[in-house]
C-alpha cells in the first residue's frame, strides 16, 4: 500500500497543505522547525490514531484553531483507493470519515493504512523506560489486529476503575473508617476478574507477537550491524508465567493468582501492581542486557532492528506498510546509515525527512520536496 495524497487543515504549523505522493522514495528536506515532521506525523497518525511525539491530541491542532483535519488518500494492496479523513477535536470526540461516509468510531480507520516509523525517539526503545517498549508492542498489535484497540481501551478502563477503588479504600483505612474500606473492597474481586479477563487477552496477543518478532529482530540486527551481535528479546511479565503458558484461560488464571498474591501490597500502595501495564520486554545482546551495556551505536542498531522487524512482520501479513524515516539519518554513523538505506530502499513507499539534503543517502534518491515556512513544494 502507499499514500497518494495528504491534505492538512490547521494541523500543527500548517494552516493548509496539499501534497501528492508517489510510490518509491520521497524526501522532505528543509530547515528544522519548518514542518517536515508534521507531514509524516499526520500520516502516521492516520495509521495509529496517535502521535509519535506527543501523548495528547491538543498540540496537533494549530495554535488558535479549534480542530485539525487530516485527509489521507491511500492506494491499498488490491489497488483500491481509500480516502480517510480525520477531524481532531481536542477535549471532544474525534471524528472520522472513510470514503466520505462518516463512521461511528475513529477506531474503524485502523488497519486501512499501516506505517512503520523510524524516529530519533526510537533510541528510547532500548535505553528508555518499560513503557516505551510496551507502547511499541501495543502499537504493532493494533496495526496487525485492529480489534486489540478495543481490548486495550477496556483494559485501561478496568485499571482506572480498579485503581480508584484501591485508592479510596486506602484513604478510608487511613482515616480509620474500616467499615467504608470493607464496603469498597467487597467489589474488588469483581474488578480482579475483569482485570484478569482483559489483561489475559492483551498478554496472550503480546506473547504471540513476541514469538513472531523474535527471529525477525535477530535477523534485522544482523543486517544492520553486519552480523555482529546476537540480539534477543524476552517478555518479562509482572505475572509469574510457566513456560509454554499461552492460552487466554491459563493466563487469566495466572493473573488472578498473582493479583491475590499481591493483595496486601496493592492495598498498602493503593495501586494495581500486576498486569500487562507493569510488564517489559528485555532486550539482550548475547548474554548481556542491551540497556546499560550496549554502546550508543549498538543501541541504535537494536532500535532499527525492532522497526525493521515490525516492517517485515506487517509485510508478511500482507499489505506492505509505508515506511517513514523521520530525521533518523542525522543520528546514525555513516555505516549504519548506508545499511539502513540499502535495507529500506526496495520498499513500496518510503517517506524520509531530513534537515539537509546531504543527510539523505544516495540509495534513497527519489522525489524531493522542499519544506519551508509552512509551504511544501516539489524541488
Amino acid at each position: 500500500m502507499y499514500v497518494t495524497a495528504l491534505g492538512l487543515l490547521d494541523f500543527r504549523s500548517y494552516q493548509q497543505a496539499e501534497v501528492e505522493l508517489t510510490p518509491g522514495v520521497t524526501a522532505f528536506v528543509g530547515p528544522n522547525g519548518h514542518g517536515k515532521t508534521n507531514l509524516v506525523e499526520a500520516i502516521h497518525y492516520t495509521a495509529t490514531l496517535g502521535s509519535h511525539r506527543v501523548a495528547t491530541d491538543a498540540p496537533l491542532v494549530r495554535a488558535g484553531a479549534s480542530r485539525a483535519i487530516v485527509r489521507t488518500e491511500i492506494r491499498d494492496e488490491y489497488e483500491r483507493d481509500v480516502v480517510v479523513e480525520l477531524e481532531i477535536n481536542p477535549g471532544k470526540a474525534n471524528r472520522a470519515r472513510i470514503n466520505r461516509s462518516p463512521v461511528p468510531r475513529p477506531r474503524e480507520v485502523l488497519g486501512l493504512l499501516r506505517t512503520v516509523l523510524f524516529a530519533p525517539e526510537d533510541l528510547a526503545l532500548v535505553k528508555g523506560d518499560p513503557s516505551e517498549r510496551r507502547r511499541f508492542l501495543d502499537e504493532l498489535l493494533t496495526l496487525r489486529t485492529p480489534r486489540m484497540a478495543g481490548v486495550r481501551q477496556d483494559y485501561d478502563r478496568v485499571l482506572k476503575q480498579r485503581n480508584s477503588l484501591l485508592r479510596s479504600a486506602q484513604m478510608a483505612r487511613r482515616q480509620n473508617r474500616s467499615s467504608a474500606a470493607d464496603g469498597q473492597l467487597r467489589t474488588l474481586e469483581v474488578w480482579d476478574s475483569n482485570l484478569a479477563r482483559t489483561g489475559a487477552e492483551l498478554l496472550a496477543t503480546r506473547l504471540e507477537l513476541l514469538e513472531s518478532l523474535r527471529p525477525l529482530v535477530s535477523g534485522g540486527y544482523d543486517a544492520v550491524a553486519r552480523g555482529k551481535g546476537d540480539a534477543r528479546l524476552e517478555y518479562k511479565s509482572s505475572v509469574p508465567l510457566e513456560p509454554g503458558m499461552r492460552s487466554r484461560e491459563q493466563l487469566a488464571e495466572a493473573l488472578l493468582a498473582a493479583v491475590r498474591d499481591k493483595r496486601q501490597d496493592e492495598l498498602d500502595r493503593g495501586v494495581s501492581l500486576v498486569g500487562p501495564h507493569r510488564d517489559d520486554v528485555l532486550l539482550g545482546l548475547g548474554d548481556l542486557p542491551a540497556k546499560g551495556y550496549a554502546s550508543h551505536g549498538e543501541s541504535w542498531s537494536f532500535a532499527l532492528a525492532l522497526r525493521l522487524a515490525s516492517y517485515e512482520l506487517l509485510r508478511a501479513d500482507g499489505g506492505e506498510p509505508v515506511l517513514i524515516l523521520d530525521d533518523v539519518f542525522a543520528e546514525l554513523d555513516a555505516q549504519r546509515r548506508d545499511r539502513l538505506a540499502e535495507l529500506v530502499a526496495p520498499a513500496r513507499q518510503v517517506l524520509v525527512t531530513a534537515a539537509v539534503g546531504a543527510d539523505v543517502p544516495g540509495e534513497l534518491s527519489g522525489v524531493r520536496f522542499a519544506v519551508g515556512d509552512g509551504l511544501v513544494s516539489r524541488a
Binding site: 485492529p146 476503575q161 464496603g183 467487597r186 467489589t187 475483569n194
Partner: protein, 199 residues
C-alpha cells in the same frame, strides 16, 4: 448576553443534559413567542413532576403512588425479578411485552471512578425483597459495558449462594441487522454465545 429573565432562562435551559448554548437560546425564544397557556402548562408539569413523582418503595421505579403500577399488578409473576440500572430501562423492557415478572431498579452501576459502590446502589433493598423466599429467578439486565458487567458479576456472586437461579441477558447481534455492520466486540460476543440449532 440578554437582559434579566431571558438570560436566566437560557442559563437554566443550558444546564439540561444534551442542551448546548445555541439550543438553549432557541428554546428560550420559542417559549417567549409561544402562547401563554402553553407555557403555563409546561411550568405546571415541571412543578408537578417534582411534587408528585415518587419512587416505588418496592422496586425503585418512578411512580405516582407509594408502589408503582407494575408492583401493584396482581397478574405479575412474583417469582421473577429483572434487575436494571435505571427507570428508563424498565420502560425499554416493558415495550417488549416478553417479561411478566417484576423489576428492581438499582439506580446506576458500580463505578469506583465516580465513587459508586454497592452501598450507593439499591442492593440492600433487593436483598430484603428476596427474604420472603417467593423469588426463584433473578435476571441481570444491567448495561453491557464494563461497569454494567461488573455490577452483574458482583450481584451474581452475592445471589448464587442463596440458591437462586441467576441469569444474564444474552449479548449478540441486533435482529434485522447486517452481519457486516456489527462491530468486532459484538460479533466476538455473538461467537462466544453461539448455540446449536435444534428442530
Amino acid at each position: 448576553m440578554y437582559e434579566g429573565a431571558v438570560q436566566d432562562l437560557i442559563d437554566e435551559l443550558g444546564r439540561l443534559p444534551g442542551v448546548g448554548p445555541k439550543s438553549a437560546q432557541r428554546i428560550a425564544f420559542h417559549l417567549l413567542a409561544a402562547d401563554e397557556t402553553d407555557v403555563r402548562r409546561l411550568a405546571h408539569v415541571l412543578v408537578q413532576v417534582k411534587e408528585k413523582v415518587k419512587f416505588c418503595e418496592i422496586c425503585g421505579n418512578v411512580s405516582e403512588e407509594t408502589q408503582c403500577r407494575i408492583c401493584r399488578d396482581p397478574r405479575r409473576d412474583l417469582a421473577l425479578i429483572c434487575v436494571v440500572e435505571e427507570a428508563k430501562d424498565v420502560v425499554a423492557i416493558e415495550r417488549t411485552r416478553e417479561f411478566r415478572g417484576r423489576y428492581h431498579v438499582l439506580g446506576g452501576a458500580i463505578s469506583p471512578i465516580e465513587g459508586i459502590g454497592p452501598d450507593e446502589l439499591r442492593i440492600r433493598e433487593l436483598m430484603q425483597r428476596l427474604a420472603s423466599g417467593e423469588v426463584t429467578e433473578i435476571i441481570l439486565a444491567t448495561d453491557p459495558n464494563l461497569e454494567g458487567e461488573a455490577t452483574a458479576t458482583y450481584l451474581s456472586r452475592l445471589l448464587r449462594p442463596m440458591g437462586l437461579r441467576v441469569t444474564r441477558l444474552a449479548s449478540g447481534l441486533p435482529v434485522g441487522g447486517d452481519l457486516e455492520y456489527a462491530d468486532e466486540v459484538t460479533l466476538g460476543r455473538a461467537f462466544e454465545g453461539r448455540r446449536s440449532i435444534d428442530d
